[in-house]
Amino acid sequence: MRWPPVLRLVVRNFASNLDPLTVIIRFGQPAVTIIVLGTMFSSIISSSVTGGASYTAFLVPGMVAFQMITGGVVSGNLFWLDRRWSMVEQVFSGPFLRSEYLGGLVLTSLLFSLVGVGIMMLVGVPFIGLPPLSPLGIAAVLLTVALGSVFFSGLLITLGSRLRSANAYFSIQSFLQLFVIFLSTVYYPVTSKTPRVLAVVFYGNPLTYAANTIRDAFAGSLGGGDLVGLGILAALAAGAFSIAAWAFRTMDLGPIQ
């Protein structure tokens, strides 16, 4: 059976670019964060700060949300390496469309994120027990991570299609990751004591909406605010994907050094 072009590209993305060490580090880092940071901070952070739950219970949904960045970074780096090693041009000299290559990247990112969600759940459950996730809650978690993953892969693909320097790409990517994670509610909540400027920045960050929605889904308390958050995330994902598609259409296919 001949697979559809997008799926062939996804298989190739996984097979050719994801070595075991990369995979272990990508998933291992947030898993270790849950174990170490969760254990250490649970004993010193009052549960009143984290809405009554232990810090680990607060952190696990944050790390689940974090998977959208993991997926985005994977596809962004894949694309960058494909450009650097002329594989973008080589793939396009074959029976593929630009949209299929882009679709393959986004689907790779999506699958990676969803695998990450599963792993974070597996790591988190021994510490926080099985969260009371309803079918709607599961759908909300998956949709949130999927939208976030599209947003971040769109952002990094745009970056990768415009930058010609590896140093510039990887520096900006690292900075962006750090900036987005620390200025979100992944590690800490926005409270009445949060400085106003920081609170505004936090709520301008899609990862905040993702972390909050997933946290509510885990707590079984999804509400209207989460729907708004999902809407914002969907709009951001659509915007980032459109920009990536445009950047991708107009980029020079030739190799970069």
């Binding site: 190739r12 097979a15 670019n17 390496l81 002329s86 080589q90 030739g254």
Partner: protein, 349 residues
């Protein structure tokens, strides 16, 4: 599928990076089934741009090109599915050579069993056995290039575009690849081949297009190009015994009247010796006259060597360049029958 079927035809094809900056312009060439077309030219002549245009990687800014019956502007995926392209730049996936081959075949939708068989064939053909389990960064430059050509041959195609596929290869590997390509062409595969190595083009290509600064200078067989643009060639005449200074001077004077240029200092032309070397546009036309002249003076000719017109000399003649010595080419010895007794005429063989 007819053997003489035209599979590629361009008319005034051109590509401009900016309104007044053309990479290639007014390119009109054709390719028949089973034919090997060489694209020759200096760096920046437009060879790679032409390959990228014809494989739909770059949209033309003027002219048309019909490849396998489809316009390159609209052929897209359906057209590309019938082409093979070995790009000039290195393109690699970060898995072993063997996995790279089968993965690429998978991308092209080649059934797994067929892919496995072909991978073995390619590994053997391109001498990649030792590199089979190595990843790209552990390969030498030559191995990478061989691998890249091998990888492209993992899928079926009707036209194969090769953009300088033999760069960095040793003579044996190069010859092996050229022989294989020639065999494939005999089997009906049409090939567009760009190279800097003129000898390669001479060996492989049925016709050669010479590109210079984005324009097509000439399109002909290698022999046709040599004939038309071969230019002046060196001739070396060896006499059986010493020739007196006076006779040498007479010969040199006669040759000069026939527009030949002596390849020694003028002051030594009058010295006795058994050899005369000169350069002439129509070298072969002078040989019968020299034989007659020698016969008339009772001299025997031991050997006549005429530099063969090479593709390189034709190429240099066409683009107006010369090598450091002002010429280029290999010498072919012409030994007239019976060691050229006086009165015999030397013929080029």
């Amino acid at each position: 599928m007819r053997p003489d079927e035209v599979v590629l035809e361009t008319r005034d094809l051109g590509f401009a990076y900016a309104p007044d900056r053309f990479a290639i312009r007014h390119l009109s060439v054709s390719l028949r089934r089973g034919e090997v077309l060489g694209l020759l030219g200096r760096n920046g002549a437009g060879k790679t741009t032409t390959v990228r245009l014809l494989t739909t990687l770059l949209p033309p800014t003027e002219g048309t090109a019909i490849v396998l019956g489809q316009d390159i502007r609209t052929g897209g995926r359906a057209l590309r599915a019938r082409l093979g392209v070995v790009l000039q730049s290195e393109s690699l996936d970060f898995v072993t050579v063997e996995r790279n081959l089968t993965l690429y075949a998978f991308l092209w939708g080649v059934p797994r069993e067929v892919a496995k068989g072909r991978a073995e064939e390619m590994i053997e053909l391109f001498e990649l056995e030792a590199a089979r389990h190595r990843k790209p960064w552990a390969l030498s430059g030559g191995e990478r290039r061989r691998f890249q050509v091998a990888r492209e041959l993992m899928h079926d195609m009707e036209i194969l575009f090769l953009d300088e596929p033999t760069v960095g290869l040793d003579a044996i590997a190069r010859r092996r690849i050229l022989r294989y390509l020639k065999d494939r062409a005999r089997g009906g595969l049409s090939i567009v081949f760009t190279t800097h190595i003129l000898h390669e083009a001479d060996l492989l290509c049925d016709r050669i297009a010479i590109l210079h600064l984005g324009s097509l200078l000439a399109l002909d067989t290698a022999e046709g190009l040599k004939e038309k643009f071969g230019g002046a060639r060196e001739v070396s005449i060896g006499f059986r015994g010493p020739v007196s200074g006076a006779l040498r001077l007479e010969l040199v004077g006669e040759l000069a009247r026939r527009h030949a240029t002596l390849l020694e200092a003028p002051e030594t032309a009058g010295s006795a010796g058994s050899r005369v070397d000169f350069r002439a546009e129509q070298a072969e036309e002078l040989l019968p006259w020299i034989s007659q002249w020698a016969h008339g003076h009772g001299l025997g000719i031991e050997r006549m060597a005429v530099e063969e017109a090479t593709l390189e000399s034709a190429f240099l003649g066409m683009i107006g360049g010369t090598d450091e010595d002002g010429n280029g080419g290999e010498k072919a010895e012409v030994r007239p029958p019976g060691l050229l007794p006086p009165g015999s005429t030397g013929g080029l063989t």
